[in-house]
């Protein structure tokens, strides 16, 4: 005697999207949260579960380049989308600029908020290579960290922006 709500949730559809540059096809209930699809069906556990209500940012992923809380994103909303998780930010074993800066500046402690934090910062710097402090604060206001007091995170972001900014300025000049 299964609850009817559960029974209807068991109806599945085929989610077809691109995750970390690989085409994915997975049969899931249409309302299943992307967070759970990533962690349970695809075993991409770098995306973390913490608040489940889109407040903490630990589950942040990129959907078509924009940072979204995967705990608030349902399967049907991902149909045909291009999704990037922490595992897909850099090619096999490499680190992107933001990851490198977090590593060098110590922008993490327990590391549980770190994947979401790095996804958000990557999105920020892609959109705005030279953010002001106010823009950094706004962009990261949805990513909570309980360990660092944000000191190391701020240093990491500023360094990544500085490095990217220089490169960006260079490209600008040559163009």
């Amino acid at each position: 005697m299964i609850d009817p709500k559960l029974a209807s949730a068991a109806e599945t559809f085929t989610l077809q999207c691109v995750i970390n540059k690989r085409p994915v096809s997975v049969d899931v209930p249409p309302a299943k949260r992307l967070l759970c699809i990533l962690r349970e069906d695809l075993h991409l556990t770098g995306t973390k579960r913490s608040c489940d209500i889109g407040r903490c940012g630990a589950c942040m992923v990129l959907v078509d380049g924009k940072p979204v809380n995967s705990c608030l994103t349902m399967a049907y909303q991902c149909q045909g989308k291009n999704i990037t998780t922490i595992e897909g930010l850099a090619a096999d074993g490499a680190l992107n600029r933001v990851q490198k800066c977090f590593l060098e500046e110590g922008g993490y402690q327990c590391g549980y908020c770190t994947p979401g934090m790095i996804v958000t910062v990557t999105a920020l710097l892609n959109k705005n290579p030279e953010p002001s402090m106010a823009e950094i604060e706004e962009a990261l206001s949805g990513n909570l960290c309980r360990c660092t007091g944000y000191g190391g995170i701020i240093r990491s972001v500023l360094k990544a922006a500085e490095q990217g900014g220089r490169r960006h300025a260079g490209r600008h000049e040559s163009a």
């Binding site: 609850d3 559960l6 556990t45 402690q109 549980y112 950094i136 909570l144 309980r146 944000y150 000191g151």
Partner: protein, 761 residues
């Protein structure tokens, strides 16, 4: 020199656990899964206080896909847990005492099914009156949570005659300070994977701060030998004391054994809020007086601590608070009375700072108020009354002597922020009139280790393993503080190893010695002391083996990067891998000792102390009542900096938590019910609140001949900020804060232009 990456030079290292953390590759214990695993859920009480009339599990058990439904009848051993005093039921038998109390647990094929099964467990409750105020819980006519009453623990301390002291006082300040029910808010909620092994053992993959303590408690609950349980407990997504006590482990273990299949549990945030520990809300009443010169003559304190329904470490936290309400000052006479009270509120327990945060907020508030009465600069007033070298500790106990208090006092007096404060006095205001800035400071003396009378073992093991790795095995946990990085750095700097030579093993009761808990700012100190003890025997054993293998005198051999090297030229003579092959058995050195304690019989009294001073600059907006932290300075006297990145991170991170304690955090309860369930209403600081200036000045100098090395820094960063902010708020707007978090309503002022508008109409 301020501590940062530049001033740290080569000592600023990438953490060994860093690459896996920034790539998301690191498997946390709540990330684990196994084929065929079941999902566990716990049924918790909907009432803060009720009698259980009946529990019927038949309907839940009959659901296809539900593999086990357990209640108190299914606990083979002790149906209780609690590190110090096991009085918390695994499953309540006939009475629930808070809304986190567990009544039953289920394991099912899917999480949704497990959740559904919970709704099919029928429990009849008979609600009882809720005891939600610790003060009234103490009255003789209060409803009692236990037969023995509502008093969990009392701790008193007295020295000298306070009545005579007050009689001689020229100035007396009386105040009651209240502190909030702060939540640890580790980002990874409690959870884990519980695996019955084919050989009959049970493997528990679940975060904790002391794997061996969990193993002991689980053995007691499961009624099986400790040797039949393996606890794997790191890495951990934050703990701050909150995962020190058992949480989901009893349920995961019982369900896995009942089903003979792996079971996973992972608390939702709401379940974490309702069942998890919080910082003890305390009411601290202080009466403190001085003579006409400002000398402290008498100090009388009463502490009432809300423990919630069960013990965990509430008694120990209270003892700590008693010690720290006396702190770094000389008083003519002291009298402290304190009580920790059972209530039907949420569970209170161990939390970074361990009662020091509440105590020092109150104590420093008294210092500021007295200085104001005397017309003396508050920082000078502290120096006038500070304990002197050679003085005993707060409870009159002998302590390891350092000059920490004076050192951090001077550092603050000399810091940029304090000079800015002096200069600011003469500057004209350019901001809008409703923005007021102020400066404040606080002094902290914080004990480390578990203290007198509590087993506080330490130890570790170094091995040249068969594969040539230098294996360092310690029974400590990595919850983010950088323990692995600190251990690696000490092995490199003290022994000359290369990072590549090392394999660090922690957080697995099958693989490590019991080194005691990773709590009480003790782990780095104990690793340092263990390595000091291990260095001579281990280095000698390695050199002896190399001498045998190479036919070279031991005196010509030293440990180095990659292997044994020629003492003079430094050239590599034999790698550790080759050296391991020449040995018939692994070369091992092991040490066991205990955290140093004071030779007194006062339970909980500390021997090693860290000192800190904190200066802040804040901005108060009197239109909104909001306080913004603009700048911070922290001087910390804790001996040598073991790991610069970790040290800085502990002070920055501790301070970040303290900002929440001061300004926004309180897990508000009403009649035993939490009014906050998640991070939308429980507000921890975001990056926007913590983007101000920050400077940490470590004071590394210790007295000549000091044998204790680095003191703990894990907690002290979380202690001094709140009283410093309270002082700065007073400096800005002239209002005294006695309750945290600071209520914006207290700081609201009717703006002058509103008056004009009304007059004009």
């Amino acid at each position: 020199m301020p501590l940062n990456r530049t001033t740290s030079g080569d000592r600023w290292r990438v953490r060994p656990d860093g690459p896996d953390k920034v790539t998301g590759r690191l498997p946390y214990l709540t990330d684990l899964s196994l084929p065929g695993m079941l999902h566990g859920r716990v049924l918790r009480s909907p009432y803060p206080h009720a009698r259980i009339v009946s529990i019927r599990t038949e309907k839940a058990k009959a659901i296809p896909g539900v593999c086990a439904v357990l209640t108190s009848a299914d606990v083979p051993g002790l149906n209780r847990f609690g590190i110090a005093r096991p009085d918390q039921p695994v499953f309540c038998e006939d009475r629930v005492r808070f809304i986190g109390d567990a009544v039953a647990a289920v394991a099912a094929e899917t999480e949704a099914l497990a959740a559904y099964a919970l709704t099919q467990i029928e429990v009849d409750y008979e609600p009882l009156p809720v005891v939600d105020d610790p003060e009234s819980a103490l009255s003789p006519d209060s409803v009692k949570l236990f037969e023995h009453g509502n008093v969990l623990h009392r701790s008193d301390y007295g020295c000298g005659d306070v009545e005579a002291g007050f009689a001689a006082c020229r100035h007396i300040v009386e105040e009651t300070y209240s502190t909030p029910r702060q939540m640890h808010t580790y980002m990874e909620t409690e959870g884990g994977l519980f695996v019955p092994e084919p050989n009959g053992r049970l493997t528990v993959y679940a975060p904790t701060q002391h794997g061996f303590m969990d193993r002991m408690q689980l053995a007691r609950i499961l009624n099986r030998p400790e040797a039949d349980i393996r606890v794997v407990s790191s890495p951990i997504g934050g703990s701050f004391g909150g995962k020190d006590e058992l949480n989901v482990q009893p349920y995961g273990a019982l369900l896995a054994l009942a089903c003979g299949r792996p079971v996973k549990l992972h608390n939702s945030r709401w379940e974490s809020v309702r069942a998890g520990l919080k910082r003890h809300p305390m009411k601290i009443t202080m009466k403190t007086g001085t003579d006409e010169h400002g000398r402290l003559l008498a100090h009388q304190v009463r502490i009432v601590s809300d423990a919630g329904p069960y013990s965990t470490l509430s008694a120990e936290v209270l003892n700590f608070a008693v010690e720290h309400v006396i702190g770094p000052y000389r008083f003519g006479a002291v009298k402290v009375e304190s009580v920790s009270v059972f209530t039907n509120n949420g569970m209170s327990g161990e939390f970074r700072g361990f009662g020091g945060n509440q105590a020092i907020f109150a104590l420093e508030g008294q210092m500021d108020r007295l200085a104001e009465k005397l017309g003396i600069d508050p920082w000078t007033f502290r120096l006038m009354n500070m304990r002197q070298p050679g003085d005993p500790g707060p409870l009159g106990q002998p302590i390891a002597q350092t000059d920490g208090a004076r050192q951090v006092w001077e550092a603050l007096a000399d810091c940029r922020l304090w000079k800015e404060k002096a200069a600011a006095g003469n500057r004209s205001e350019t901001r809008p009139p409703w923005i007021k800035t102020g400066y404040g400071a606080a002094l902290v003396m914080h004990g480390a280790g578990l203290g007198v009378g509590i087993p506080d073992p330490a130890g570790g093991r170094l091995t040249l393993a068969g594969d040539g790795k230098i294996e360092a095995a310690f029974g400590y946990e990595e919850f983010g503080q950088g323990l692995i990085a600190s251990l690696e750095q000490m092995l490199i700097e003290q022994f000359g190893f290369d990072a590549q030579d090392l394999r660090i093993v922690i957080g697995d009761t099958d693989a490590v010695p019991d080194s005691g808990s990773s709590t009480a700012s003790r782990a780095t100190s104990m690793m340092w002391q263990a390595l000091k003890r291990l260095h001579p025997p281990f280095a000698t054993a390695l050199r002896k083996q190399a001498s045998r293998a190479l036919g070279v005198g031991m005196e010509k051999l030293v440990l180095g990067r990659g292997g044994i090297r020629d003492a003079e030229s430094g050239s590599l003579l034999i790698s550790y891998g080759e050296l391991a092959k020449t040995a018939s058995e692994p070369i091992v050195a092991e040490t066991k000792f205990a955290y140093p304690t004071s030779p007194v019989d006062r339970v909980g009294a500390h021997y090693l102390y860290t000192y800190a001073s904190v200066a802040v600059k804040v901005e108060v907006n009197t239109l909104t009542g909001r306080v913004k932290l603009l700048d911070q300075f922290h001087a910390v006297a804790a001996g040598p900096v073991v790991n610069p990145q970790g040290y800085l991170g502990q002070i920055e991170g501790g301070s970040g938590m303290a900002l929440g304690f001061a300004l926004t955090e309180d897990a508000v309860m009403d009649k035993g019910m939490y009014l906050t369930r998640n991070l939308d209403t429980y507000l921890i600081p975001t990056i926007a609140e913590l983007s101000g200036g920050f400077e940490v000045l470590p004071i590394e100098e210790l007295p000549e001949g000091d044998k204790h090395g680095p003191r703990g820094v894990g907690e002290i960063g979380s202690v001094g900020l709140a009283p410093a902010i309270a002082a700065a708020v007073h400096d800005a707007v002239g209002k005294r804060v006695n309750k945290l978090p600071i209520d914006p309503a207290l700081l609201l002022e009717k703006p002058v232009f509103l008056n004009k508008a009304v007059e004009w109409r």
